[in-house]
Subunit: 141 residues, 2 copies
Amino acid sequence: MDDRSAEALNRLRRVGGRVTPQRRIVIEALIDAHPHPSAEDVAERIAEVAPEIHLSTVYRTLNTLTELDVITHVHLDHGRSVYHFVDDSGPHLVCRNCGAVAHVPADTFGAVSDEVASATGFTLGHGHFAWSATCPDCTSA
Amino acid sequence: MDDRSAEALNRLRRVGGRVTPQRRIVIEALIDAHPHPSAEDVAERIAEVAPEIHLSTVYRTLNTLTELDVITHVHLDHGRSVYHFVDDSGPHLVCRNCGAVAHVPADTFGAVSDEVASATGFTLGHGHFAWSATCPDCTSA
DNA sequence: ATATGTGCAAACGATTTGCAACCCT
DNA sequence: AGGGTTGCAAATCGTTTGCACATAT
Protein backbone atom coordinates (compact mmCIF):
# COMPACT_ATOMS: atom_id res chain seq x y z
CA MET A 1 0.00 0.00 0.00
CA ASP A 2 1.21 3.44 -0.92
CA ASP A 3 2.57 5.59 1.89
CA ARG A 4 0.10 8.30 1.10
CA SER A 5 -2.76 5.89 1.46
CA ALA A 6 -1.54 4.68 4.84
CA GLU A 7 -1.02 8.23 5.97
CA ALA A 8 -4.48 9.29 4.88
CA LEU A 9 -6.12 6.34 6.63
CA ASN A 10 -4.18 7.07 9.80
CA ARG A 11 -5.33 10.62 9.85
CA LEU A 12 -8.88 9.48 9.34
CA ARG A 13 -8.69 7.11 12.29
CA ARG A 14 -6.95 9.72 14.42
CA VAL A 15 -9.99 11.99 14.24
CA GLY A 16 -12.46 9.25 14.96
CA GLY A 17 -13.36 8.69 11.33
CA ARG A 18 -14.09 5.31 9.82
CA VAL A 19 -12.07 3.53 7.20
CA THR A 20 -14.66 2.39 4.73
CA PRO A 21 -14.14 0.54 1.46
CA GLN A 22 -15.37 3.65 -0.36
CA ARG A 23 -12.75 5.81 1.23
CA ARG A 24 -9.99 3.36 0.47
CA ILE A 25 -11.06 3.33 -3.14
CA VAL A 26 -11.23 7.10 -3.41
CA ILE A 27 -7.73 7.38 -1.98
CA GLU A 28 -6.42 4.73 -4.35
CA ALA A 29 -8.01 6.51 -7.27
CA LEU A 30 -6.34 9.73 -6.19
CA ILE A 31 -2.99 7.99 -6.11
CA ASP A 32 -3.41 6.15 -9.39
CA ALA A 33 -4.80 9.08 -11.33
CA HIS A 34 -2.61 11.58 -13.11
CA PRO A 35 -1.12 14.11 -10.69
CA HIS A 36 -3.92 16.66 -10.85
CA PRO A 37 -7.28 15.05 -11.36
CA SER A 38 -10.58 16.85 -11.11
CA ALA A 39 -13.34 15.43 -8.97
CA GLU A 40 -14.82 14.04 -12.12
CA ASP A 41 -11.56 12.38 -13.14
CA VAL A 42 -11.46 10.66 -9.80
CA ALA A 43 -15.07 9.65 -10.09
CA GLU A 44 -14.55 8.20 -13.56
CA ARG A 45 -11.63 6.16 -12.37
CA ILE A 46 -13.72 4.84 -9.54
CA ALA A 47 -16.67 4.06 -11.78
CA GLU A 48 -14.56 1.49 -13.58
CA VAL A 49 -13.78 -0.33 -10.39
CA ALA A 50 -16.69 0.29 -8.09
CA PRO A 51 -19.66 1.82 -9.87
CA GLU A 52 -21.81 1.66 -6.74
CA ILE A 53 -19.81 4.46 -5.16
CA HIS A 54 -21.93 7.56 -5.49
CA LEU A 55 -20.55 10.85 -6.78
CA SER A 56 -21.58 12.56 -3.57
CA THR A 57 -19.46 10.10 -1.64
CA VAL A 58 -16.50 11.02 -3.78
CA TYR A 59 -17.06 14.68 -3.04
CA ARG A 60 -17.55 14.05 0.64
CA THR A 61 -14.36 12.05 0.83
CA LEU A 62 -12.46 14.68 -1.10
CA ASN A 63 -13.71 17.28 1.36
CA THR A 64 -12.85 15.16 4.35
CA LEU A 65 -9.33 14.58 3.06
CA THR A 66 -9.01 18.29 2.47
CA GLU A 67 -9.98 19.03 6.06
CA LEU A 68 -7.39 16.55 7.22
CA ASP A 69 -4.77 18.30 5.10
CA VAL A 70 -4.11 15.21 3.06
CA ILE A 71 -5.04 16.89 -0.20
CA THR A 72 -5.84 20.37 -1.52
CA HIS A 73 -7.43 21.63 -4.67
CA VAL A 74 -6.89 24.43 -7.11
CA HIS A 75 -9.72 26.10 -8.94
CA LEU A 76 -9.56 26.24 -12.70
CA ASP A 77 -11.31 28.60 -15.01
CA HIS A 78 -14.77 27.26 -15.02
CA GLY A 79 -15.86 26.02 -11.61
CA ARG A 80 -13.85 22.82 -11.92
CA SER A 81 -11.05 22.15 -9.50
CA VAL A 82 -8.11 19.79 -9.52
CA TYR A 83 -6.93 17.91 -6.48
CA HIS A 84 -3.50 16.85 -5.37
CA PHE A 85 -1.72 15.55 -2.31
CA VAL A 86 -0.42 18.28 -0.05
CA ASP A 87 3.10 16.93 -0.06
CA ASP A 88 3.24 17.28 -3.82
CA SER A 89 6.20 19.63 -4.14
CA GLY A 90 4.75 23.05 -3.49
CA PRO A 91 3.31 25.67 -5.79
CA HIS A 92 1.80 25.13 -9.20
CA LEU A 93 1.18 26.91 -12.42
CA VAL A 94 -2.17 26.11 -13.89
CA CYS A 95 -3.02 26.92 -17.47
CA ARG A 96 -6.01 29.16 -17.38
CA ASN A 97 -7.14 27.74 -20.65
CA CYS A 98 -6.61 23.98 -20.64
CA GLY A 99 -5.77 23.16 -17.03
CA ALA A 100 -2.25 21.91 -17.74
CA VAL A 101 -0.09 22.05 -14.64
CA ALA A 102 3.58 22.76 -14.00
CA HIS A 103 5.63 23.45 -10.92
CA VAL A 104 7.10 26.77 -9.92
CA PRO A 105 10.79 26.31 -9.10
CA ALA A 106 11.06 26.21 -5.32
CA ASP A 107 13.70 28.92 -5.04
CA THR A 108 11.71 31.28 -7.20
CA PHE A 109 8.74 30.68 -5.00
CA GLY A 110 10.61 31.30 -1.77
CA ALA A 111 11.96 34.62 -2.94
CA VAL A 112 8.64 35.84 -4.27
CA SER A 113 6.81 34.70 -1.26
CA ASP A 114 9.04 36.78 1.01
CA GLU A 115 8.85 39.85 -1.14
CA VAL A 116 5.09 39.65 -1.39
CA ALA A 117 4.67 39.14 2.32
CA SER A 118 6.75 42.13 3.27
CA ALA A 119 5.19 44.36 0.63
CA THR A 120 1.55 43.44 1.15
CA GLY A 121 1.06 41.21 4.16
CA PHE A 122 -0.50 38.54 1.96
CA THR A 123 0.65 34.99 2.44
CA LEU A 124 1.30 32.79 -0.53
CA GLY A 125 0.38 29.46 1.01
CA HIS A 126 2.22 26.25 0.30
CA GLY A 127 0.04 23.54 -1.14
CA HIS A 128 -2.98 25.80 -1.13
CA PHE A 129 -2.00 27.88 -4.00
CA ALA A 130 -1.56 28.19 -7.74
CA TRP A 131 -0.63 30.73 -10.34
CA SER A 132 -2.81 31.00 -13.31
CA ALA A 133 -0.87 31.26 -16.49
CA THR A 134 -0.91 30.17 -20.09
CA CYS A 135 0.93 27.02 -21.03
CA PRO A 136 3.18 26.82 -24.08
CA ASP A 137 0.57 24.92 -26.10
CA CYS A 138 -2.18 27.41 -25.46
CA THR A 139 0.14 30.36 -26.01
CA SER A 140 0.87 29.30 -29.55
CA ALA A 141 -2.75 28.43 -30.31
CA MET B 1 -17.55 60.60 -18.83
CA ASP B 2 -14.78 58.39 -17.58
CA ASP B 3 -12.08 57.48 -20.09
CA ARG B 4 -12.68 53.83 -19.48
CA SER B 5 -16.31 54.21 -20.34
CA ALA B 6 -15.53 56.01 -23.58
CA GLU B 7 -12.94 53.44 -24.47
CA ALA B 8 -15.32 50.56 -23.79
CA LEU B 9 -18.07 52.11 -25.88
CA ASN B 10 -15.66 52.73 -28.72
CA ARG B 11 -14.58 49.17 -28.77
CA LEU B 12 -18.18 48.07 -28.77
CA ARG B 13 -18.95 50.21 -31.80
CA ARG B 14 -15.80 49.12 -33.54
CA VAL B 15 -17.01 45.52 -33.65
CA GLY B 16 -20.48 46.41 -34.82
CA GLY B 17 -21.99 46.24 -31.35
CA ARG B 18 -24.71 48.55 -30.11
CA VAL B 19 -24.42 51.06 -27.35
CA THR B 20 -27.51 50.44 -25.30
CA PRO B 21 -28.58 52.15 -22.09
CA GLN B 22 -28.10 48.84 -20.30
CA ARG B 23 -24.52 48.60 -21.42
CA ARG B 24 -23.76 52.15 -20.44
CA ILE B 25 -25.13 51.45 -17.01
CA VAL B 26 -23.18 48.24 -16.55
CA ILE B 27 -19.98 50.02 -17.50
CA GLU B 28 -20.73 52.87 -15.12
CA ALA B 29 -21.41 50.40 -12.34
CA LEU B 30 -18.09 48.74 -13.04
CA ILE B 31 -16.34 52.08 -12.75
CA ASP B 32 -18.17 53.23 -9.66
CA ALA B 33 -17.90 49.96 -7.79
CA HIS B 34 -14.94 49.08 -5.65
CA PRO B 35 -11.97 47.93 -7.75
CA HIS B 36 -12.82 44.23 -7.85
CA PRO B 37 -16.53 43.62 -7.83
CA SER B 38 -18.15 40.27 -8.43
CA ALA B 39 -20.92 39.97 -10.98
CA GLU B 40 -23.33 40.14 -8.09
CA ASP B 41 -21.76 43.31 -6.72
CA VAL B 42 -22.21 44.92 -10.09
CA ALA B 43 -25.77 43.69 -10.33
CA GLU B 44 -26.61 45.03 -6.88
CA ARG B 45 -25.26 48.40 -7.75
CA ILE B 46 -27.31 48.43 -10.90
CA ALA B 47 -30.45 47.32 -9.11
CA GLU B 48 -30.42 50.57 -7.15
CA VAL B 49 -30.39 52.65 -10.32
CA ALA B 50 -32.10 50.57 -12.94
CA PRO B 51 -33.89 47.56 -11.49
CA GLU B 52 -35.29 46.61 -14.89
CA ILE B 53 -31.89 45.48 -16.06
CA HIS B 54 -31.89 41.74 -15.85
CA LEU B 55 -29.08 39.74 -14.26
CA SER B 56 -28.54 37.88 -17.48
CA THR B 57 -27.95 41.17 -19.24
CA VAL B 58 -25.29 42.00 -16.69
CA TYR B 59 -23.58 38.70 -17.32
CA ARG B 60 -23.87 39.09 -21.05
CA THR B 61 -22.36 42.54 -20.93
CA LEU B 62 -19.57 41.38 -18.66
CA ASN B 63 -18.80 38.63 -21.13
CA THR B 64 -18.89 40.97 -24.08
CA LEU B 65 -16.53 43.38 -22.37
CA THR B 66 -14.25 40.49 -21.57
CA GLU B 67 -14.13 39.46 -25.21
CA LEU B 68 -13.27 43.02 -26.14
CA ASP B 69 -10.43 42.98 -23.64
CA VAL B 70 -11.91 45.82 -21.66
CA ILE B 71 -12.14 43.79 -18.47
CA THR B 72 -10.99 40.43 -17.12
CA HIS B 73 -12.00 38.36 -14.18
CA VAL B 74 -10.34 36.25 -11.56
CA HIS B 75 -11.98 33.18 -10.06
CA LEU B 76 -12.31 32.98 -6.32
CA ASP B 77 -12.70 29.93 -4.19
CA HIS B 78 -16.29 29.07 -4.77
CA GLY B 79 -17.28 29.69 -8.36
CA ARG B 80 -17.56 33.44 -7.87
CA SER B 81 -15.33 35.70 -9.89
CA VAL B 82 -14.27 39.31 -9.54
CA TYR B 83 -13.95 41.66 -12.48
CA HIS B 84 -11.60 44.52 -13.16
CA PHE B 85 -10.49 46.71 -16.02
CA VAL B 86 -7.57 45.31 -17.94
CA ASP B 87 -5.52 48.47 -17.58
CA ASP B 88 -5.67 48.14 -13.79
CA SER B 89 -1.96 48.12 -13.00
CA GLY B 90 -0.91 44.54 -13.60
CA PRO B 91 -0.98 41.49 -11.37
CA HIS B 92 -3.05 40.95 -8.28
CA LEU B 93 -3.14 38.95 -5.14
CA VAL B 94 -6.59 37.69 -4.36
CA CYS B 95 -7.48 36.31 -0.97
CA ARG B 96 -8.66 32.80 -1.55
CA ASN B 97 -11.00 33.15 1.34
CA CYS B 98 -12.60 36.58 1.28
CA GLY B 99 -11.68 38.03 -2.09
CA ALA B 100 -9.60 40.91 -0.74
CA VAL B 101 -7.16 42.19 -3.33
CA ALA B 102 -3.65 43.65 -3.28
CA HIS B 103 -1.12 44.38 -5.99
CA VAL B 104 2.08 42.53 -6.58
CA PRO B 105 4.98 44.98 -6.80
CA ALA B 106 5.78 45.41 -10.49
CA ASP B 107 9.47 44.60 -10.20
CA THR B 108 8.76 41.44 -8.27
CA PHE B 109 6.39 40.39 -10.98
CA GLY B 110 8.81 41.08 -13.81
CA ALA B 111 11.54 39.00 -12.25
CA VAL B 112 9.27 36.08 -11.41
CA SER B 113 7.66 36.14 -14.76
CA ASP B 114 11.02 35.76 -16.50
CA GLU B 115 12.18 32.99 -14.22
CA VAL B 116 8.98 31.07 -14.62
CA ALA B 117 9.01 31.43 -18.38
CA SER B 118 12.53 30.14 -18.75
CA ALA B 119 12.02 27.30 -16.30
CA THR B 120 8.63 26.06 -17.47
CA GLY B 121 7.55 27.78 -20.66
CA PHE B 122 4.41 29.03 -18.95
CA THR B 123 3.48 32.65 -19.45
CA LEU B 124 2.21 34.72 -16.57
CA GLY B 125 -0.14 37.02 -18.46
CA HIS B 126 -0.54 40.69 -17.65
CA GLY B 127 -4.06 41.68 -16.78
CA HIS B 128 -5.21 38.09 -17.08
CA PHE B 129 -3.68 36.84 -14.00
CA ALA B 130 -3.82 36.64 -10.24
CA TRP B 131 -2.15 34.87 -7.39
CA SER B 132 -4.33 33.30 -4.84
CA ALA B 133 -3.15 33.93 -1.34
CA THR B 134 -4.44 34.56 2.13
CA CYS B 135 -4.86 38.13 3.29
CA PRO B 136 -3.69 39.30 6.70
CA ASP B 137 -7.24 39.27 8.09
CA CYS B 138 -8.00 35.73 7.02
CA THR B 139 -4.58 34.50 8.09
CA SER B 140 -5.25 35.46 11.68
CA ALA B 141 -8.79 34.14 11.67
C1' DA C 1 -34.46 47.40 -42.55
C1' DT C 2 -32.00 44.34 -40.07
C1' DA C 3 -28.68 42.71 -37.19
C1' DT C 4 -27.97 43.00 -32.30
C1' DG C 5 -29.52 43.19 -27.62
C1' DT C 6 -32.96 42.45 -23.92
C1' DG C 7 -36.12 40.22 -20.52
C1' DC C 8 -37.70 36.21 -18.87
C1' DA C 9 -37.82 31.55 -17.61
C1' DA C 10 -35.89 27.43 -17.95
C1' DA C 11 -31.40 24.83 -18.34
C1' DC C 12 -26.67 24.20 -16.69
C1' DG C 13 -22.60 22.02 -14.43
C1' DA C 14 -20.23 21.51 -10.29
C1' DT C 15 -20.92 20.78 -5.71
C1' DT C 16 -23.76 20.30 -1.40
C1' DT C 17 -27.40 18.71 1.64
C1' DG C 18 -31.40 16.16 4.20
C1' DC C 19 -32.64 11.93 5.39
C1' DA C 20 -33.28 7.02 6.11
C1' DA C 21 -30.68 2.92 5.88
C1' DC C 22 -26.09 0.99 6.75
C1' DC C 23 -21.72 -0.67 8.77
C1' DC C 24 -17.16 0.49 10.98
C1' DT C 25 -15.20 0.25 15.61
C1' DA D 1 -24.77 -0.35 20.61
C1' DG D 2 -23.97 4.00 18.54
C1' DG D 3 -22.18 7.32 15.85
C1' DG D 4 -19.88 8.07 11.61
C1' DT D 5 -20.91 7.11 6.56
C1' DT D 6 -23.47 6.04 2.43
C1' DG D 7 -26.82 6.30 -1.41
C1' DC D 8 -30.20 8.70 -3.38
C1' DA D 9 -32.81 12.56 -4.73
C1' DA D 10 -33.60 17.11 -4.33
C1' DA D 11 -31.56 21.64 -3.54
C1' DT D 12 -28.03 25.30 -4.25
C1' DC D 13 -25.08 28.63 -6.47
C1' DG D 14 -23.16 31.11 -10.15
C1' DT D 15 -23.68 31.44 -14.81
C1' DT D 16 -25.63 30.44 -19.50
C1' DT D 17 -29.11 29.82 -23.11
C1' DG D 18 -33.48 29.66 -26.21
C1' DC D 19 -36.85 32.37 -27.67
C1' DA D 20 -40.01 36.10 -28.83
C1' DC D 21 -39.95 41.00 -28.52
C1' DA D 22 -37.61 45.46 -28.61
C1' DT D 23 -34.13 48.75 -30.43
C1' DA D 24 -29.67 50.91 -32.09
C1' DT D 25 -27.66 51.95 -36.38
